[in-house]
């Protein structure tokens, strides 16, 4: 297990190199000169030239790539727009992003799995129909629209929560209150898809022979469902959560914009807009690493749940 984790962590190295090359390549194609954008309509050619030299944009491609990668790893990469080290800027935003992502994940699991299990057990009941109907709609709504509607309902119409912004760390009351709406908005897609998968895999498992045998032996229904069926149904559920993570990372970027959340996703979007190449490079790279790590986490949980699989 330990060796497996090390191996997966080593996998980060090619990811960093690959992603950075892709990003760097795309950023070369993107028209727009960061200095010109930074100076805006007030720029003079001389000022643009000075800034370009300051940031070394006149060097050839490969030199700049290695310079950027080296500086990123050593933490010396400077953002153009912020005039600060990329590492500093990102580390400020990383915690809000992780908080948002984790809470959404937790909400999704806590809401979706019980819903799915109950829906499966009481198949074709009113609860089943309604919850699955809502879930199907849930995966069909654009994330930013959910966000705006949430703000309107839960902050303006019924003033329960603050509309936007970051209120502090998650363990403070203000922080938690600010986090609730964006986290729920972000988790809708995950809730919807996870509860659907939970239901269908529970239904599949409950048809299996060994459960029928257990039932005929007189094992209590509750025990059958929770101990046998659910445990086996968890594997496809976790696979699905892993697959949904990419969607969630994408959604988080939109949600962060809607809720003025100071996260890495919003940072990356504004970095692309400002053509702040070092920051685009840094922020997207960090998001990619985060993505790989979360996937690793899902895989580890996978092993714990399914002892038959062992990684060597």
């Amino acid at each position: 297990m330990f060796a497996y984790i090390i191996k997966r962590l080593l996998w980060l190295i090619p990811v960093v190199i690959g992603v950075s090359l892709i990003l760097f390549g795309i950023m070369q194609l993107v028209p727009g000169n960061p200095a010109a954008i930074m100076l805006g309509t007030n720029a003079t050619p001389a000022a643009i030239k000075a800034l370009n030299e300051k940031f070394g944009f006149n060097e050839p491609f490969h030199i700049r790539y290695f310079l950027m990668l080296k500086n990123f790893i050593t933490g010396e990469l400077d953002s153009i727009y912020y005039g600060d080290e990329v590492i500093n800027i990102i580390s400020n935003r990383l915690i809000p992003t992780i908080e948002l992502g984790l809470l959404s994940l937790i909400i999704a699991v806590l809401v979706a799995i019980p819903t799915g299990v109950i829906a499966a057990v009481k198949k074709n009941s009113l609860f089943d129909l309604i919850s699955m109907f809502i879930a199907t709609i849930g995966i069909s709504v654009p994330a930013f629209f959910t966000g705006i509607i949430f703000i309107y309902i839960f902050s303006v119409y019924f003033p329960f929560f603050p509309s936007s912004g970051y209120g502090g760390r998650i363990w403070t009351l203000s922080g938690l209150r600010h986090l609730v709406l964006p986290a729920f908005a972000l988790s809708t897609v995950m809730i919807a898809s996870t509860s659907r998968i939970t239901r269908s895999s529970m239904l599949d498992i409950m048809k299996e022979d060994y459960l029928v045998t257990a039932r005929s032996k007189g094992v209590a229904e509750k025990v059958i469902i929770l101990k046998h069926a659910f445990r086996n149904a968890l594997i496809p559920i976790i696979t699905n959560i892993g697959n949904q993570l990419a969607m969630m990372f994408g959604g988080a970027i939109l949600i962060e914009s809607v809720f003025a959340w100071p996260g890495v996703g919003r940072l990356a979007v504004s970095a692309v807009e400002a053509r702040d190449q070092p920051l685009v490079f840094g922020s997207i790279l960090i998001l990619s690493i985060l993505f790989v790590l979360v996937n690793l986490l899902v895989d580890i949980i996978y092993v714990f749940i399914n002892p038959q699989i062992s990684y060597k």
Partner: protein, 343 residues
């Protein structure tokens, strides 16, 4: 009998609409959108006529055992049926928009550029330029379906080719291709699409490319795993032994066997593509105005959410219903085609 009456009514409606447009208003062949609508209309009329008077030619399908089984499976739940009806309506709207939209989707009355609530005259109200929302939503179906299908086509052709190569050749090729796809996948797709559109510029074609080349992993992983399963089958090994070329084996044996799973995945991906395009509109990089596109309309509607909620509700509903239908269809197809049994 009941079925026949319904078909007959549909036929009459379709002929009436065509008559109105072709003969009264002279919209037949003058522009691309009319060409599409005319062709679609003719096709529909022929289909309805055949269903009414010469149903026997459809029997062949029904007699096919595989088809019959699939049909039965598909009809089990409500989801699939609802999806088919909804999608039929959406497709109808998409093709027939120039014939059935009561107003032009782009024309502006410059003396009265303001929104108005839904009324008998404007069923979905008008937007802040005074344009009829109903017409715009109808026209929007064309963009949504067009972009959704094309993006998935790009996505599938790239993903499937990579998956085929990886699965068929296996070993090092497999490892390298799949690792590259994984690396590609670890960049959040919205950001990737954003960067690509920034690089290429806006425009429908560029949006299709940007959405099409993100998220390749789904298609390639699926294809690869199917190829792995089929490769070991006897008929493939024997074909190989007989000296069939790689391309031939891929084309003759592997592709046909994976098609049903690919259709299911493709159906689900269309919904996702429509959502991604809407998300890009939110970031200001969607379909360019004045083209009526749902994502752009929804984003514009946000500004008027309080005073003119219909400006966001109707395009929003259109997106939700379309994506929902594709998801339901995908689910139903999954049950019907049952890709897990590959024999």
């Amino acid at each position: 009998m009941k079925k026949k009456i319904i078909l007959f009514i549909l036929l009459v409606i379709q002929i009436y609409i065509s008559y109105q447009n072709w003969l009264v208003e002279g919209k037949i062949w003058s522009s691309l959108e009319y060409k599409f609508a005319t062709a679609f209309s003719v096709l529909l009329i022929v289909l309805l006529l055949l269903l009414l008077f010469k149903k026997s030619i459809f029997l062949k399908f029904k007699e096919n055992a595989l088809y019959a089984k699939m049909f039965k499976e598909f009809n089990k739940g409500y989801g699939g049926k609802i999806a088919v009806v909804m999608l039929a309506l959406i497709f109808y709207a998409a093709f027939m928009a120039p014939f059935i939209a009561p107003y032009s989707p782009t024309k502006i009355d410059y003396s009265n550029m303001t929104y108005s609530a839904p009324s008998l005259e404007h069923w979905f109200g008008t937007d802040d330029f005074g344009r009829d929302m109903f017409s715009r939503v109808l026209y929007g179906a064309r963009i949504a379906l067009g972009v959704g299908f094309s993006a998935v086509l790009v996505n599938a052709s790239l993903g499937v080719s990579l998956g085929l190569l990886a699965g068929y050749y296996g070993g090092k090729a497999d490892m390298i291709i799949m690792r590259l796809v994984e690396i590609w996948n670890s960049i959040p797709f919205i950001l990737l699409a954003l960067a690509i559109i920034s690089a290429l510029g806006t425009g429908i074609f560029n949006i299709i490319i940007a959405v099409g080349i993100t998220g390749l992993i789904n298609f390639s992983r699926l294809t690869r795993s199917i190829v792995f399963q089929i490769k070991e089958k006897e008929y493939v090994t024997s074909a190989k032994a007989l000296g069939a070329s790689d391309l031939r084996i891929l084309y003759n044996h592997i592709l046909p066997n994976s098609i049903s799973s690919l259709i299911v995945l493709g159906t689900l991906r269309i919904g996702i593509s429509i959502l991604v395009v809407a998300g890009l509109s939110f970031l200001g990089l969607g379909i360019q105005p004045p083209t009526a596109a749902w994502g752009t309309m929804l984003n514009r509607g946000q500004e008027y959410l309080i005073q003119a909620p219909w400006m966001s509700i109707f395009p929003g509903l259109a997106i939700i219903i379309t994506v929902l239908s594709f998801n339901l269809l995908g689910d139903a197809l999954r049950d019907a085609l049952d890709p897990r049994q590959l024999d």
